[in-house]
């Protein structure tokens, strides 16, 4: 009887385990092994080159420039998104009108579910230099001097992408915060208010420490998203103008699928993975240790 139960159990697991092997275990092992060879993705044969690929990548100044842009993109969007998301979530949480609170909760998540392609093309249109809405608004309020080709200049392209990225993803941060805020016992907030705590005190001394856990989740999710950023950048600037928005995701894509230098691309992918893992662990540690101080 037990034997039959387990046979059935393993049969049920078979397809998923096959996918696990084909889409995770095999690719990860291949990536790691191939990064130590001169394999180019086409020939069956290859030679061991030790750390050669890593040395090449680390000796490439384009790689370092792209890494710098990636870190800037990820940290700026993450910090803005977490702080702004926290404040906006608090605003929505404290809304007196029940209808507005429900409406806002539904609305903030809309950009998150919109396809990246729609967000990219819509914002490219809104930001277009001569006929775009953004420049029209700037001209209308007397800021003609600010109107410009936002995505076409090396000075503004990166910052513009960061703003659009925040527009798309801040709803996730806000939603997590609101769900967590709703879980805070009402008595706690009421008694703090009785003791004369204003919004600022409430925010800093009650909500901030109680929401440490969710801040960690929000920070890490945005950080990982920022480090992996690809879709919006590919569709809005393609990494340009010049190399000004070429982040690692774009660089890896180009090396692999435009130059067909798979070995190099795999090596960069592994380095990016290690960067993501390390930064995630460090931020966890930092946020957690600040919790102990409380």
């Amino acid at each position: 009887m037990i034997a039959r139960k387990y046979t059935l159990a393993y049969l049920f697991l078979l397809p998923a385990v096959a996918l696990l092997a084909a889409f995770y275990i095999y690719p990860v092992l291949t990536s790691v092994v191939r990064s130590f060879t001169d394999w180019n993705g086409f020939d069956a044969g290859f030679l061991w080159v030790g750390w050669g690929n890593y040395k090449n990548v680390f000796g490439d100044h384009h790689f370092w420039a792209a890494t710098g842009r990636t870190l800037r993109f990820a940290f700026v969007t993450t910090i803005v998104q977490t702080i702004l998301g926290f404040l906006l979530a608090f605003f929505i949480y404290t809304l007196v009108s029940d209808r507005w609170r429900k409406l806002m909760r539904v609305a903030v998540y809309i950009p998150v579910i919109l396809p990246g392609a729609v967000v990219s093309l819509l914002w490219s249109n809104l930001l277009s230099p001569n006929f775009g809405l953004v420049n029209e608004v700037l001209r209308a309020i007397g800021l003609e001097a600010w109107a410009r080709g936002w995505l076409g200049s090396t000075e503004t392209a990166m910052n513009t992408l960061m703003i659009v990225n925040t527009w798309k993803f801040i709803g996730m941060t806000i939603t997590f915060y609101i769900v967590a805020m709703l879980a805070i016992p009402k008595d706690l907030i009421e008694s703090a208010k009785m003791d004369g705590a204003g919004s600022g005190t409430l925010l800093w001394h009650i909500f901030r420490p109680l929401l440490k856990g969710i801040t960690e989740v929000n920070f890490i999710l945005s950080l990982i998203g920022g480090l992996k950023a690809f879709d919006l950048i590919y569709m809005m600037t393609g990494g340009g103008p010049g190399d000004s928005t070429t982040v690692l995701g774009i660089m890896i894509y180009r090396r692999a699928f435009l130059s067909f230098r798979f070995g190099e691309a795999i090596t960069m992918g592994i380095i990016l993975f290690i960067v993501i893992l390390t930064l995630t662990l460090i931020s966890r540690r930092l946020i957690a240790s600040r919790e102990d101080e409380q």
Binding site: K5, L8, A9, F12, L13, P15, A16, V17, L19, L20, A22, F23, Y24, P27, V28, S31, G41, L88, F91, L95, V96, M104, R105, A107, V108, Y109, I110, P111, I113, L114, P115, G116, A117, V118, L121, L122, S124, N125, L126, F131, G132, V137, W167, G171, V179, A183, I214, V217, L221, K228, D231, Y234, M235, I266, M268, G269, I270, L272, F273, I276
Partner: protein
């Protein structure tokens, strides 16, 4: 009192501002999809067209812009991925949560670990594997990539739900002589429908929007899904704003409708891992 009211209105300002910033671009997209390109360029903030709604923008996007082809491709790929994913993960998660065969905890950790592995580590080997199987530039290859990419989170959610199922019903059915398959199919499967809905909705929106895998595997225009097709569309209608915005509106609608109808499930699914864990 007046002071209080003024303060109340001021407090609402950030909320109104946020609402406007989020929702206005969508209004812009929908309203301008019904105006002529000339009108949009002259005044992007306008709402109406002087010659009535330009439905021809939609007709042109659908037929000449080939949105109809991309739409059909996206629908096929999304629905196939969804059905296959649900079948695979339901069986696996049920087995892990209910029957717990030897090694089940190792396997569960294995599935969970996939959430840590990012695409950078796996994309190129999977791409080359699909190439060697001659599945590049085909819908089955794309569907396979989507199914493979979505199993971790789904198994995690469903398995936790299965663990919380009441045992009394099963035992009663077993005493009445029902086999394991029958208990699974007639008693437990109907009970896990809510979590399957969460998984289905989340994967629908994910696959419907997916861009990267479509970009690297599909080269034939006839096979392109909407996000990828839109890129051609953009170069074709770069200066024809009305048609471009009509195309964007068509792509947005399915995700938006699914979200608005099921927004409760979204919040549930998204926060299930993070808030409780």
């Amino acid at each position: 009192m007046t002071n209080n009211r003024l303060f109340g209105a001021l407090r609402m300002l950030p909320v109104y501002g946020l609402f406007l910033i989020i929702v206005y671009p969508l209004f812009y997209m929908v309203f301008n999809s019904l105006r002529t390109t000339r009108e949009i360029m002259m005044q992007p903030s306008g709402l109406w067209s002087s010659s009535g709604p330009q439905w021809s923008n939609y007709a042109e996007a659908f037929v000449i812009g080939k949105v109809s082809v991309y739409f059909a491709n996206s629908a096929f790929v999304t629905i196939s991925s969804l059905v296959i994913t649900l079948a695979v993960v339901t069986l696996a998660a049920y087995s892990l949560g209910k029957w717990k065969p030897p090694g089940h905890s190792v396997l569960f950790v294995g599935f969970l670990a996939t959430l840590m592995i990012t695409g950078e580590m796996t994309t190129i080997p999977i791409f080359l594997m699909l190439r060697d199987l001659d599945l590049l530039n085909s819908h089955p290859g794309l569907i396979l990539a989507y199914v493979g990419g979505g199993i971790g989170m789904a198994i995690y959610l469903i398995r936790n739900f299965v663990l919380s199922l009441p045992k009394e019903l099963d035992e009663a059915a077993r005493i009445d002589g029902a086999g394991y398959m029958r208990v699974f199919w007639s008693i437990d499967l109907p009970l896990i429908v809510p979590v399957l809905a969460v998984v289905a909705i989340m994967s629908f929106v994910g696959v419907w929007s997916e861009f990267f895998w479509a970009l690297i595997t599909i080269t034939d225009d006839k096979l392109k899904t909407l996000p990828l097709g839109l890129l051609n569309f953009q170069s074709q209608y770069n200066t024809n704003y009305g048609v471009l915005l009509a195309g964007l509106t068509i792509v947005t609608l399915p995700s938006l409708l699914v979200y608005l109808f099921f927004s409760r499930y979204f919040i549930e699914g998204m926060t299930a891992g993070a808030v409780k864990g």
